[in-house]
Structures are given as C-alpha cells and as structure tokens.
C-alpha cells in the first residue's frame, strides 16, 4: 500500500532533490514510498520548490511597491537576472527587499527600528536576551493550573491575527484524553506589512523559546515544532543558537516553510508539516482536539509565546494592565510612508497618530493606512485616532490582524494599491475551494480592467463576489481577500471615478 504522505521528511527530501524539476518526484517517490504524482503536487504548491532556479526574489508587497520594487524588478530583468516578483518577504521596514538564490536577504532600504531597552515591556525587543529562563522555573514551582490561570488573568489573545483567548486553547489541549500532544510555533509570518515575529526571533529568541517551553510543559507536550518561514534563515540560526545555550528539557524540531502564505493558517500549516499541500482543513475538529497527525496540538504565534515568560514572572494582572483598550501590550509593525519604520511594543489601543510619532512622523501627506496587513484592507485618515485594537478595528470594517500597519501618502493611487493586494491574494489562495479560488481571480481581473480604461463597469460585481467569498470560503483567506479592493472603493471613491 502506498503512503499518502511522507510525513515531515518529504518536503526536505524534495528540496534537496530539486523541487519541481523533472525526474525529482520519481526519485523521491522511490526513497519515501509516496506516489510520484502526489509529490509533484506538493512541489508545485510551494513557490520555493516550484521555481528552484530563481536567482533573485524581489518583494512586491505594499511597502516594497511604495519603495520602488517594480523598478528593481524591471532593472534585474533587463540585466538578464532570473528574477521573480514574490509575495511579502517580511522585510517591509527595510523596503525594498529581495532574497538571493540562497534565500539570504538583499536589502536596498535602511535598518528597521525598535524601542530602546525597557524592562517594563513584556517582550522588550531592545533588551538583552539571556538563557536565564527563570519564568520556566517559576512555572514549574506554581504548577500548570496556576500558569493557565495567569494566562487567563492576563487576557492574552493570540497575536497571529485571530485574537483568540490563549488560555482556552491551553486548557483544551491539557484536558484531552490522548497523552501524545504537540506544541507548534507558527513562525510562518507572511501577512504583507508584518515583520514582528522576525524581530522577536532575531532579537529575543530566548523569550519565545522560554514561552514555548512553558506552554509545552503546561499542556503536557514532549515535542515542539517550529514551523518557520523558509525565507527566515537568520531567525532559524538565532533560535538554534539560543537552544544550544538553554538546552531545554523539551524536544524542539524545526520545519522550514517553502513559500506559501496560506501555510500561516494553522490547519494549512499542519498539512504542510505532514508533508502535504498546504490546504486548510475543515473545522471542527480544531487542532486542540485533532491537530498534527491527528493528535491534540497547541498552535501559537511567535509573539503570543514571547509574551508568556513576562506573564508568568510578573502576573496576569500586570500584563492586562499594560493595555489601554484591551489587555496587554502589542508589537505594532509600521512601514510605508513613515520616517522610521520598525516594530514598536506599545499598549494595545494606541492610535495610528501615536504609533507614527514613535516612527518619526509621516513622509509626505498621509492618505490611507492598512492597520493589519493586506487582509485588513485600507482605512482613510479619518480613522487616525481610532484605537488600534481587535474590537475597534473590527467595528471599523477592518481588523487588527497581525498589526502590520502600512501608511500610504497622497502620492499613491488607491486603485493601484488595491491591485497590489488583489495580486497578492490571487497568488496565494490555495485553490481548494471555489469561492476563494475563482473569486480571487475575478477581483484581480476587475481591478486590472478598471486600471486599463477607468471604466467603473468593471467593478460592478466586486461586492457580490466578495459576499460569496465571505459566505462560502473554507478559511479566513477567502473571507477577507477582497478587502483591499472593497475598502479602497468604499473609502476613496475619488480614486475610482
């Protein structure tokens, strides 16, 4: 009997052998027992495997587009370089960004900023990162139940985008009858405008790893997986160094992503980890009940875990009190038309105005901002004083998501900016369900046709199509994929006349 998937080894084997190159599927099938067609289906799903010969990958995310990425792409092409325009590389603060053939960053922009060291900040990106791990000791002293109580008291909401209360997932996994359990770190940061997890892993790897160790211990998991964006080689090195220093009593395994934004969605991530195409699963069952290889699994974003040590150390109430409109502090990424793009750890509920002050002010006259990555669409400056939190932004028809804030000034045509967002979603939909697969293409086609002749007829069905993508899609990608275009049309009618 043939195996449906080769498990966690398959992707690595495909990468080593040359991805979607001819003959690779057959060779790897021989090694792994996975059918060759299935393997070819896997290779062609992941950008990094599908195109193994690319020499230069230039980011076409919003911030990089604003910083001249398309000129760089044209230039490289003219020079005969095998160049590929790719989805956001998570380097928006250093835009425009690119990766060389070895996936190491080529940076044309400046360095990103963080706040100076401050021991009152839970993650404290500017602080010294040490292998002390005193919070883990304290956790073991007070016991798992008490730790989960502190997480509940802290009001810690998932930082990956959905804002789901962390303690519910911890209790959920802990209470399963099955004792083989996993913790998975979602380090696949891919939402355009977002680069906070990258900074956490580079600057505070111990924070995240200690949070991971506490979580694993509290839910009774002996193995942890870190699913890390393949483009984040430097982060992986930082984490490996930190692990070697701390030598935790936990088996930590790394898994490189291979270029698919959708694998940030937790169940697509699990499929990918199992060596398959990263297509989201139907929920329920939720991963807490049936996750990796069908076992109870706690999945958390890098930032969520990095909040845990301080919560255990200083108490849940302390963390909750750091927030202004909701619980805790938050890593806000800011890029685009601001002076000092970077990651700023601020109370949840700060406004755009305050955030931009930290980021050195606007460049030019601001026109629009995207508060939480491409999936959050655009808001006009009338919302500059709206608290950047989960509830307020939802009420504004947008979302905090991953808090990847991008500012656009009045040099930008919002119809053009909307197009960048729709290109992103058309490139990144997994294609499994029809509303999203077909809808993403229809929306991108509509804005392209509109830009070609400025005839508003082309936009007549954007709303209806969005309605069905929201109603019928399997996962969050399809539900929000029309927002760049829809919100631009709603808030910037002047750019659509």
């Amino acid at each position: 009997m043939k195996k449906k998937s080769g498990g966690t080894e398959v992707m690595h084997a495909l990468e080593e052998a040359g991805g979607a190159r001819s003959g690779v599927a057959r060779a790897v099938s021989g090694q792994t027992g996975v059918p060759e067609a299935t393997l070819y289906g896997v290779s062609t799903f992941y950008t990094l495997l599908a195109k193994p010969d690319v020499e230069l990958r230039i980011c076409q995310g919003t911030s990089c587009a604003l910083a001249g990425a398309f000129e760089h792409i044209a230039e490289a092409r003219a020079n005969g370089v095998k160049v590929e325009a790719v989805s956001c590389l998570g380097q928006c603060d250093r835009a425009p960004a690119a990766l060389d053939a070895r996936l190491e960053p080529v940076i044309w922009g400046g360095e990103g900023h963080v706040l100076p060291a401050d021991p009152e900040l839970p993650i404290d990106l500017g602080g010294a990162d040490t292998a002390e791990w005193s919070a883990l000791e304290k956790a073991k002293r007070i016991g798992a139940e008490a730790v989960i109580d502190e997480i509940r008291a802290a009001g810690l909401q998932g930082r990956g985008g959905a804002g789901f209360p962390a303690h519910i997932k911890w209790s959920g996994v802990r209470s399963q009858a099955e004792t083989e359990r996993y913790v998975v770190v979602n380090a696949d940061e891919g939402e355009p405008g977002t680069f906070k997890d990258r900074e956490v892993m580079l600057r505070r790897p111990h924070r995240m790893l200690e949070g991971l160790a506490i979580a694993a211990w509290a839910v009774g998991a002996k193995v942890a997986w870190i699913y890390i964006r393949g483009e984040f080689q430097a982060c992986r090195r930082a984490l490996e160094r930190a692990l070697a220093e701390a030598k935790p009593d936990l088996e930590v395994r790394f898994y490189d992503g291979h270029g698919a934004y959708i694998c940030g969605e937790e169940t697509a991530l699990l499929e990918s980890l199992e060596g398959k195409r990263g297509m989201p699963r139907l929920k329920p069952p939720f991963p807490t009940e049936a996750g990796l290889f069908g076992k109870p699994t706690l999945i958390h974003n890098v930032e969520t875990l990095a909040c845990v040590p301080a919560i255990v150390e200083r108490g849940g109430d302390w963390f909750r009190g750091l927030g202004r409109t909701e619980a805790g502090s938050k890593l806000y990424c800011i890029s685009g038309h601001v002076e000092k793009p970077g990651v700023y750890e601020l109370p949840i509920g700060v406004t755009l105005e305050e955030l931009v002050q930290h980021a050195g002010g606007y460049v030019g006259t601001p026109k629009a901002f995207s508060p939480g990555g491409a999936s959050s669409g655009f808001l006009p400056m009338a919302f500059r004083d709206t608290p950047l939190d989960f509830k307020s932004l939802q009420a504004a028809g947008s979302m905090l998501g991953s808090a990847g804030v991008v500012v656009l000034n009045d040099s930008v045509d919002m119809a053009e900016a909307a197009r960048w967002g729709q290109v992103f979603f058309e490139d990144e939909t997994c294609g499994q369900c029809a509303p999203c697969r077909i809808g993403c293409s229809l929306q991108r086609q509509s804005i392209d046709r509109y830009l070609a002749d400025r005839d508003a007829e082309h936009l007549a069905h954007v709303g209806v199509v969005h309605g069905e993508m929201d109603e019928g899609s399997i996962c969050g990608l399809g539900m929000t994929a029309s927002l760049p275009l829809l919100s631009a049309m709603k808030h910037f009618p002047g750019d659509f006349v």
Partner: protein, 351 residues
C-alpha cells in the same frame, strides 16, 4: 435520535451526515465534489446549509447529524449563496452559445444545477488558467481543463478506490489543475486507464477519448462484461446501431459497485470489428467454413474422442479461458474428468 431538518424531526443513525439525512427525506441539496465511495471533503461548497448556533454556513456532506440539531436547507441566504457561487463557477467554465456550462461526456451536473437553482449576476469570463497535458498520447482518457471544477473526485478516486495515485492536484490557486508527476502522459504514469476518473467526474472534464463529443445514449443497454469471470455489469450506449461508450451502472447497484477496468470500459472495438467471428466455424480440408452449433460441437466431440481412442485419454488436455466463470470452469473440469477420463485440465488465469 432526531435531527430537525427544515422544521421536520427526522430519525438518523449515529455517524450519518446532514446531507445523507436530508436527501433521505427528499431535500434537494446540490453537490459537485460528493461521491459516495469517497471520503467527503466539503470543497465544492455547493451543499452548504444553515446549522443553528453556527455563524457560518456548513457543508452538509461533512457535518454530522446530532440529536436536536436544527438544520435549514432552504432559505434566502442559501439561495443567494448557491446562485452567486454558480455564477462564479460558470465564469470559470467553458460555456455554450446560451452562456450555459457546456454539455460533454456523460453529462454536466454544473449545467443541471445552473438550470435548477438559477444564477446570480452574469460575471465576466475568466481566461483558462489550468494546464492540460497536450502531449498526453493515451488513447482513452481525455482531460478538458476548461470544464474542470477542481472537486478532485478523480484524484480521490484514483487514491481511495484504486490506490493507483496516477493523478494529483498540482500547482496552486487558480492555476491548480489535475496533473501527473512532471505532467507526463498517463501512459508514462502509474495509471491503469480504468477510467474511474471519468465515472466520478461531475462535469465531463474527464471523458472517454474514443467517444469525445458523442452524447450518452438516453437508454443504455444493461449487459455483463465478457472479459473475465467477475461478471461486472456494464451499460452499453448504442447510437445509430453502434456501440459508442461503455459505463458502469451506478455504485451500490451491481457487483462492480460503479467500477470497471480498462478492458470493460474501453476495449470494445471488437464489437464492430470486421474480423469478429459471428458464427461457429469448422475447418474442412484446411478451409474454415461457417456452420451450425450442432455441427461444430459434433465435429469437436468426434475429434476429441478420436484422439482418446488412438492415444489414450491423457493425450488430451483441457484449458479454459480466463473469461469463464467459476461455474463454467467447474463444468469444464467435469467434462475433462467424467466425460473424457483425464485429469489434464487447467484454467489459464491460474498461473
């Protein structure tokens, strides 16, 4: 145990899905990716229903019926969802002069559903983004990417029923298509050309190459496949006196449960072949002549008895065809042993 379907309390068995229960009590719920023999995947999104307490519509093909659950299969919300979704499918599909999904192969359920449930606004057509294997020289299975809705029933059938895995979903997003390793032709893959992918395809994107463009016969003739002793039932599609296509009766109705092999489905050229034997023949003075069954059997019996008289019974050997059934094989060995007195008997499929 009862589940409430559109206000009606309906008995169900543990493990039954909402789709199964609803269909049992006569609700019409459209599906594209659903196929009884395959694990449900909830991907085509046609079968979504309202489940009380759930904010989102849920796929009835995967949602299990539970005690007291309140399900709605008919509502304005569901109508709108279905109609807009059908508009989107049509925008991504080959259409005919009337803008309807093209009819091909043994039918197009997408077309049927558009006609039954109606569509939302007419959306601009999308260009074809799915790759086809143009160089695929296999004689039997044709893949028409323009008519594919990516329900992946073919891929799942090839995996879950046949365990052959010749085809898979390849590429991503709108470029996703049904492909093979390196997009080689089916003859260079593990494909056994059973054509089950054709049988499970809801839209006719997978079709029989020899019958391309020929519509199914309205009343196919039920017969038994003559290629082996299994006795698979076949439906013979006859158009203008010629056999144009062989399909299996629906799953769950006959011994072959909807399946056929490459011979049963495709190897029917012999039916109209000029060399086909149509009457018994006897060779006299080195020349084959048509004759009656009576004469042919008498001639054979005489010859066999002659060998036995001259050389003894063990000079005879009896080999039966792999096309014979168990009963026929039994009769054949009985003939060898009881009538002719030799144990020299064999069945060609036994080696």
């Amino acid at each position: 145990m009862k589940v409430i379907i559109d206000g009606e309390a309906v008995d169900f068995e543990l493990g039954e899905t909402v789709l199964e229960v609803a269909q049992r009590v006569g609700r019409s719920i459209p599906t594209l990716c659903h196929e009884k023999r395959l694990d449900p995947v909830g991907a085509c999104r046609m079968c979504l229903v309202e489940v009380q307490g759930q904010r989102r519509l849920q796929p009835s093909c995967t949602w299990k019926a539970t005690e007291g659950a309140v399900i709605t299969t008919q509502s304005q919300r569901i109508d709108t969802h279905r109609q807009v979704l059908l508009s989107m499918y049509v925008a991504d599909h080959a259409v005919d002069d009337q803008g309807l999904p093209k009819q091909r192969g043994v039918g197009n359920q997408l077309r049927d559903q558009v006609l039954e449930y109606g569509t939302g606004p007419q959306l601009p057509q999308l260009p074809l983004r799915r790759a086809v294997r143009e160089h695929d020289a296999n004689p039997y299975i044709h893949f028409d990417a323009e008519a594919c809705v990516l329900c992946a029933a073919c891929v799942r059938y090839c995996d879950e029923v046949e365990a052959v895995n010749a085809i898979a979903l390849v590429e991503r997003g709108g470029r996703t298509t049904i492909g093979t390793a390196d997009q080689q032709g089916l003859l260079d893959s593990s494909c056994e050309l059973c054509g089950g992918c054709i049988a499970v395809c809801p839209t006719g994107a997978m079709t029989e190459r020899p019958s391309l463009g020929i519509p199914p016969a309205p009343e196919p003739i039920r017969s038994t496949c003559n290629f082996c002793g299994v006795g698979c039932q076949v439906d013979l599609h006859v158009t203008d006196g010629r056999l144009t296509r062989v399909t299996s009766p629906p799953p769950g109705t006959t011994v072959n449960d909807g399946n056929l092999c490459v011979k049963g489905r495709f190897a029917s050229e012999f039916v109209h072949h000029p060399d086909r034997l149509q009457t018994p023949m006897v060779r006299r003075n080195g020349v084959l002549e048509p004759t009656t069954w009576e004469d042919a059997l008498q001639t054979a019996a005489k010859g066999l008895l002659g060998v036995k008289r001259r050389h003894g019974a063990d000079a005879l050997g009896f080999v039966s065809s792999s096309r014979c059934t168990g009963e026929e094989n039994y009769l054949m060995q009985k003939l060898a042993r009881a009538a002719f007195g030799t144990n020299n008997c064999h069945q060609c499929a036994a080696t």
